[in-house]
């Protein structure tokens, strides 16, 4: 990246999308915390993908005689009230959690971004109608809205994904609209409009790439919240249905054993904690890496830092 302020280039030519993939990742791993978050996420994806192969026991293999055993070499995380291996269940639950998070956030991303783009670019009554609808959805607390949706559609994995997707849609719409509004005023968009380029082409070629930064950051943060929401729904018995493992459901099942079998609640709880933290760290790192102003400052800090050391 050039050290020139990016605005100087923008006067004449379409601005390139802020940061290529490789550049972003390089910036991301420069901060140790984000790098750690990224490493955890990669490990998590690996566990989720290979779960059934590498889990030491069958996820639903019960053994009542070996129930409620504390962590041991045979069962690293101990066993639950049905004698199932908690390590295996935590590993398999990673798959469920990631699946729910990715699908629901993908839903929110696609729908929310589309709504935000249209609303921000077209303006007028379309903007008013769409944004008021978004405001109404925003007025509901996230979990309450999700609960209402699950109550209507019935509990289960699919409805949990849909419910979480729906409640995170408005935030994507808002973020996209705000960015779209500012980018629409940019000269290269105005120029494109003057040249008679089709609207859809302007949206996809010029606007979308230039607003992708905030959306990517929002995606990462939403993934963290989606995992939390899934855990909450499952904890309330409205998400993943037994015997399929889920971190939230495992916590729910552990309630009655808080005093006698700490390992039943500690390990799934730790899994939620670590995953959410990792997504948040990566989200923070992405924001730093993708925000041009931030990046410039980081660049300056790096330079002045190196000058100071000399």
């Amino acid at each position: 990246m050039s050290e020139l302020p990016s605005a100087a280039i923008d006067e004449r030519m379409p601005r390139p999308a802020p940061g290529t993939g490789r550049g972003v990742i390089r910036l991301l791993v420069r901060t140790p915390l984000s790098a750690a978050g990224l490493a955890v996420l990669l490990a998590l994806v690996l566990v989720a993908a290979l779960g059934p192969v590498i889990a030491p026991y069958g996820v639903n293999a019960t053994d009542v005689l070996g129930a409620l055993r504390p962590p041991s070499p045979a069962h690293w995380f101990g066993t639950d009230d049905l004698g199932r291996d908690i390590l295996s269940r935590v590993m398999l639950a990673a798959r469920v959690s990631l699946q729910v998070a990715v699908v629901s956030v993908a839903f929110a991303l696609v729908v929310g971004t589309a709504v935000g783009l249209i609303s921000g670019y077209l303006g007028g009554w379309v903007d008013t109608v769409l944004m008021r609808a978004v405001d109404v959805m925003f007025a509901f607390p996230v979990l309450l809205l999700a609960l209402a949706i699950v109550a209507i559609l019935g509990p289960g994995l699919t409805t949990a994904m849909l419910a979480i997707g729906v409640v995170y849609t408005p935030i994507f719409a808002r973020v996209t609209r705000a960015s779209t509004l500012s980018v629409t005023e940019e000269p290269y968009v105005k120029a494109s409009q003057a040249m008679g380029t089709r609207r859809s082409r302007i949206l996809v070629r010029h606007i979308l790439p230039n607003i992708s930064g905030p959306i990517i950051v929002q995606t990462s943060l939403s993934l963290a919240f989606a995992i939390l929401s899934e855990a909450a729904l499952s904890f309330l018995g409205l998400g993943v249905q037994p015997p399929q493992p889920s971190w939230g459901r495992m916590l729910f099942d552990a309630q009655g054993f808080l005093g006698s079998a700490w390992w039943m609640s500690v390990f799934p709880g730790a899994a939620i904690f670590v995953t959410v933290l990792a997504f948040n760290l990566v989200g923070d790192g992405l924001r730093d890496a993708l925000d041009p102003r931030h990046r410039t400052r980081m660049g300056r800090t790096a330079r002045s830092g190196s000058r100071g050391s000399r």
Binding site: N60, A61, T62, V64, A67, D81, L82, P155, L236, G237, Q241, P242, P243, Q255, G256, F257, L258, G259, S260
Partner: protein, 506 residues
């Protein structure tokens, strides 16, 4: 008492209950201590209403047990003893029962209790077709001969009439004025040892002692009931001395309770039972060999362990050991090979089973996961469907299930255990079982007056029912209650009746 455990309380109720225990601690301190002894009891949920003849909620009966009376009532051994009736005679043709009523009894509002109240109460159950009217299926007439004598005429000999009219407070004697004003649902008036003082929905129910109670005034001044569905909360409150009694106890916490010296933990085998039932209107469950295969495949000991943590007794029939009606039956050892060969004989390949359980009864969810694992080697893929109890009932009644797990509680007479569940077209025969031989036996049991002959009839019927796997019986749970050592004179009863009239505190 033929209701299912009503535990349909959600997270909101839990939150409320959490708030409540805080409040009850406060009032416990505020009550002036000048000789006042109020028993503070935490029950696991809130009554739906307080009309004893209409409610089917166990939470209601935990309160109403102390407010109302029946003509006769079960003692600790579940034998019927005099209550509002002091004695009774049976005509030689066994068709007319004459009850002699206790004199000098008044309702808690001072109105005298007479034979007319008995007639009104029973006619209300029969004429309004209330949920318990089936208990009067043979009753053709209830008449007041004079103020202290009632006759009940039956169309056929009815040996279990006493347990029908006295088995639980659903057959309570109510006051006409109280019913007609509609107050009975929130401010019931009975003849029992305690009178309702206040009912704050969502919060508490307060009873005060009835000094004119026919059995002698209670030794305590009153009872405060609070609703605490979260077992850990109730136990913490009990340990902290904020409550004196609770039955909101998760079985897995029993061990930690027993080690506490300041508490008495009462457990007693109950007449309740848990079972699996398969939908015989659907293939392949219409084939008795498939049902038997599953009966051989499940491990009752493991299920009882997971569902009740060693507090339950495994049983392959409904009626528990210790009951006069117990029948020994031990056919289904856990034998996976036998199960395989039965399935092979039935010519059934791998199939998927929809197992219906309720989140309001966590034991069914735990057991279902175990059963799913146990049936897998047979090539049966179990899909567990967890519903709240109201939806569960809908699905059961409309026949949308392959197999379900649930329990019945509070039964006393064998007719309660078997008739409506296994008679062709019986009111609770959701599994669609029909066997003419069982029908004949169950009908005969209703009118057989010789006790030994009756026992034989039910032993035979129960054996066929289990052989045919109309119900796949699992276990009899225990009644678990815990209370402060300051509470004396309290007895944990197998029929789950919570009687505080003879207790003292301090």
């Amino acid at each position: 008492m033929k209701h299912r455990l009503p535990l349909a309380v959600g997270a909101l109720a839990t939150a409320l209950a959490l708030a409540l225990t805080g409040c009850s601690a406060g009032t416990g301190v505020d009550v002036p201590s000048g000789g006042h002894t109020i028993l503070r009891a935490a029950i696991a949920g809130e009554p739906d209403q307080l009309d004893p003849q209409k409610t089917s909620s166990y939470f209601s009966f935990e309160v109403l047990e102390n407010v109302f009376d029946t003509l006769v009532e079960p003692d600790e051994n579940l034998e019927m003893q005099p209550a509002l009736a002091t004695s009774w005679d049976l005509s030689d043709d066994q068709l007319v029962w004459t009850f002699h009523l206790r004199s000098g009894v008044t309702f808690q509002d001072g109105t005298p209790f007479t034979a007319a109240d008995v007639v009104y109460s029973y006619d209300r159950i029969i004429d309004d077709k209330l949920a318990n009217s089936w208990r009067f299926s043979t009753v053709t007439d209830v008449t007041a001969v004079d103020d202290s004598t009632v006759t009940i005429t039956v169309s056929a000999p009815t040996p279990n009439l006493l347990s029908s009219i006295g088995g639980f407070k659903g057959m309570a004697i109510v006051e006409k004025a109280n019913v007609e004003s509609g107050d009975i649902a929130t401010k019931p008036i009975g003849t029992g040892p305690f009178a309702l003082a206040s009912y704050t929905p969502g919060d508490s129910i307060e009873l005060t002692a009835n000094p004119h109670y026919w059995g002698g005034a209670p030794k305590i001044d009153g009872i405060d009931y609070t609703f605490v569905s979260e077992g850990s909360t109730a136990i913490a409150a009990l340990k902290a001395g904020e409550i004196d009694w609770t039955d909101s106890i998760p079985a897995q916490q029993l061990d930690s309770l027993k080690s506490d010296d300041s508490l008495t933990v009462g457990t007693t085998p109950s007449n309740d039972y848990w079972y699996l039932a398969m939908n015989e209107k659907r293939a392949p469950y219409d084939d008795v060999r498939v049902r038997q295969a599953i009966a051989y495949a499940v491990d009752r000991d493991a299920i009882a362990q997971v569902a009740a943590y060693g507090t339950a007794t495994v049983n392959e029939l409904a009626i528990p050991k210790g009951s006069a009606w117990y029948t020994k039956y031990d056919t289904y050892s856990t034998d996976i090979d036998k199960a395989r060969s039965l399935l092979a004989a039935a010519g059934v390949g791998p199939f998927t089973m929809d197992l219906l359980v309720s989140s309001d009864y966590p034991e069914t969810v735990s057991a279902a996961q175990l059963i799913a694992d146990e049936l897998q080697p047979l090539g049966i893929t179990v899909k567990i469907r967890t519903l709240d109890f109201a939806s569960w009932l809908d699905e059961q009644d409309s026949g949308h299930f392959d197999m379900l797990m649930m329990g019945w509680l509070g039964n006393i007479d064998p007719d309660d255990f078997y008739y409506s569940q296994h008679h062709t077209g019986g009111g609770s025969n959701a599994q669609g079982y029909s066997n003419p031989e069982v029908d004949k036996l169950l009908d005969a049991g209703r009118t057989e007056t010789d006790v030994d002959a009756r026992k034989k009839i039910y032993a035979q019927a129960a054996t066929i029912i289990a052989d045919d796997v109309s119900y796949l019986y699992l276990y009899n749970p225990s009644v678990i209650q815990a209370y402060s050592t300051k509470l004396s004179g309290y007895v944990v009863r197998g029929d789950r009746a919570v009687r505080f009239r003879d207790v003292s505190l301090g």
